[in-house]
């Protein structure tokens, strides 16, 4: 039987949801027009919040908000409330060094926390669980987001933060941790060190893991589940939309319910900006509905996904999104062909003989780009024969070529020999000189 946090909102009918969304969109527009950024943008586009936006469909009239808008508006261009009402900020420096900031009022935080709590309940977490939060605290939204969500649920929360493998294992054993929140690389790291520190999986009480902060494949999830004998749940969030709690799997692990009472979801063609129908892959665009300090309208997440509409056995009516298949901005151009690192990951991590870590290396030979995919072999399925290893190499190369069109060089490496980072694994090494 499905346990709900709030059945009336989680199983809301389509028409009620539309009404709810429109009501909160109007509220959001009122807040948005208090920011200097949206005032200018509406004026420039000759839009008026009240007369131009008469229905949910009119949302399309509003131009997209992009990451650069957040940077350009730093620090206060997107602040919609009096500073006195703000109780927390989360900033992110990003790769360019120009920061972005999201402000939260107490109500904003409460609503965010509620989304996280709802997500945890959807994955079967209850107040009887012991929740060890192995994510970095501080500006990183994953740490605090899940912390407060689990606390509101009434779980025992261990704010162990990231790193310190031995201590994590000791806490897990001594306090009988049942749920962890960690990066997949850290879970692999724990798995590889558990014996060294004198523990066994059987000593632990672990039942569930929430994996986040870095992209990972289905096969990675399965390996973590198999090793620890647990359920691991996918989720989706981004700091611009609070952080974790935007979309979450339920116990059916049937892709991620995106909480449509808090966000209006659109999928667009990243090149033309056109709206795409459900079922078609494109860039996810989100509008906040329950945020007053930093409302964002039609924010381009740069994440590629597909909206799935088939009903979920759990009974929740919020539509689901597929796992993120790539980012519009981490696309690599290799000899003129567009390749997403996630495409490569999907291929190699679905080959069982491949181990935990991998690296995508790009170099230039004369005028040509050269792609080298380094993978580790998976200890448990090592056959011991050179011929099998050669076959594996060929299999990886053929499958990659079929998926990305480019013929890569494949290197096999020892287990745990490629870099695995404790927080975010850096898996693309582009050694091509910039022209």
């Amino acid at each position: 039987m499905t346990v709900f946090r709030d059945k009336s909102i989680e199983c809301i009918s389509k028409s009620d949801l539309a009404r709810y969304q429109f009501q909160h969109l109007q509220e959001t527009l009122q807040f948005a027009l208090k920011t200097s950024f949206y005032q200018k943008r509406f004026k420039k586009n000759k839009l008026d919040a009240l007369s131009s936006i008469q229905s949910l469909d009119d949302l399309e009239k509003i131009p997209f908000t992009v990451k650069d808008d957040l940077r350009d508006s730093y620090p206060k261009g997107l602040l919609a409330v009096d500073m006195k009402e703000v109780v927390r900020i989360h900033t992110s420096s990003g790769t360019t060094g120009i920061p972005t900031v999201i402000y939260h009022t107490q109500n904003d935080l409460n609503r965010w926390t509620e989304l996280v709590t709802r997500s945890l309940v959807a994955c079967g977490v209850s107040n009887e669980d012991v929740f060890q939060n192995m994510m970095t605290y501080g500006m990183f939204t994953g740490g605090l987001g899940l912390h407060y969500g689990a606390e509101r649920l009434g779980a025992l929360v261990i704010p162990s933060s990231s790193g310190n493998t031995q201590r994590q294992l000791q806490l897990m054993k001594d306090f009988q941790t049942t749920v962890v929140h960690a990066t997949p690389s850290f879970m692999f790291h724990l798995a590889s060190k558990i014996k060294e520190f004198g523990y066994a999986v059987e000593d632990l009480f672990l039942k569930k893991a929430f994996l986040g902060a870095e992209p990972y494949s289905e096969n990675t999830r399965r390996k973590i589940e198999d090793f620890f004998k647990i359920d691991a749940y996918n989720s989706y969030g981004l700091s611009e939309m609070n952080g974790p709690g935007v979309a979450f799997e339920c116990t059916y692990k049937n892709d991620m319910h995106i909480w449509e009472d808090a966000y209006i979801v659109e999928i667009i063609n990243p090149e033309t900006g056109e709206r795409l129908p459900d079922g078609q892959e494109g860039e996810l665009v989100l509008t906040t509905l329950r945020r007053s300090a930093t409302p964002l309208l039609r924010y381009r997440t740069r994440d590629l996904t597909t909206i799935l509409t088939e009903p979920c056995p759990c009974g929740r009516t919020h539509r689901r999104i597929s796992r993120i298949t790539g980012r519009t901005d981490d696309m690599l151009i290799i000899n003129g062909v567009n390749v997403f690192p996630s495409q490569i990951e999907q291929v190699i991590m679905n080959i069982p003989e491949v181990g935990n870590n991998y690296q995508i290396c790009l170099s230039r030979e004369g005028a040509l780009d050269r792609l080298t995919v380094k993978v580790e072999i998976y200890s448990k399925l090592f056959a011991g024969d050179l011929s099998e290893l050669e076959k594996l190499k060929t299999k990886i190369r053929d499958r990659l070529k079929a998926s990305i069109i480019i013929n890569p060089a494949v290197e096999l490496h020892e287990p745990e020999s490629l870099p695995a980072f404790e927080l975010k694994a850096k898996r693309v090494l582009d050694l091509r000189e910039k022209l």
Binding site: E196, S379, F382, G384, L389, E411, L412, H413, E414, S417
Partner: protein
């Protein structure tokens, strides 16, 4: 038949040293060793006194390794000793994947390890031709 460990190694400095260090710390004696090289990686093949213990020790240290049955055939330690063995090999249907050997005082001859696909069949065949194929226990006594 003997137990051989096939260990996957990257072709970079110090990997064989690491294997020998792991085995030393686990108190394991290496009786014979060969390396099969494939450019960027290779296989280190080991005959050790406690194969099962060695597998655990190596896997705990993140080495991918696999126990394999190989033939341990006694040959004469004199010119033509190996030729005598190889000339009876049913060449049409047996492909030797890898082979190496050493001279051993105690058996008054040489011990030659042969990796083939169908170990049992080739072992039986060699015995009908009068060769002594040692068991795992016999190999460890040498």
């Amino acid at each position: 038949m003997a137990k051989q460990l096939n260990v996957f190694v990257d072709n970079r400095i110090g990997r064989i040293k690491s294997i020998t260090e792991v085995l030393f710390k686990a108190g394991i004696n290496i009786r014979a060793m060969a390396v099969q090289d494939r450019g960027d990686f290779g296989l280190v093949k080991l005959i050790v006194n406690h194969p099962d213990k060695a597998v655990i020790a190596l896997q705990e240290n993140n080495f991918a390794c696999k126990e394999k049955d190989v033939l341990a055939v006694v040959i004469k330690d004199k010119p033509g000793g190996l030729f005598e063995l190889l000339k009876v090999f049913p060449e049409d249907n047996v492909n030797i994947l890898d082979a190496y050997g050493f001279a051993a005082e105690t058996i008054k001859g040489s011990l030659f390890f042969v990796e083939v696909k169908d170990v049992k069949q080739v072992s039986d065949f060699l015995e009908t031709k009068g060769f002594k194929v040692l068991t795992d226990a016999e190999v460890l006594e040498i």
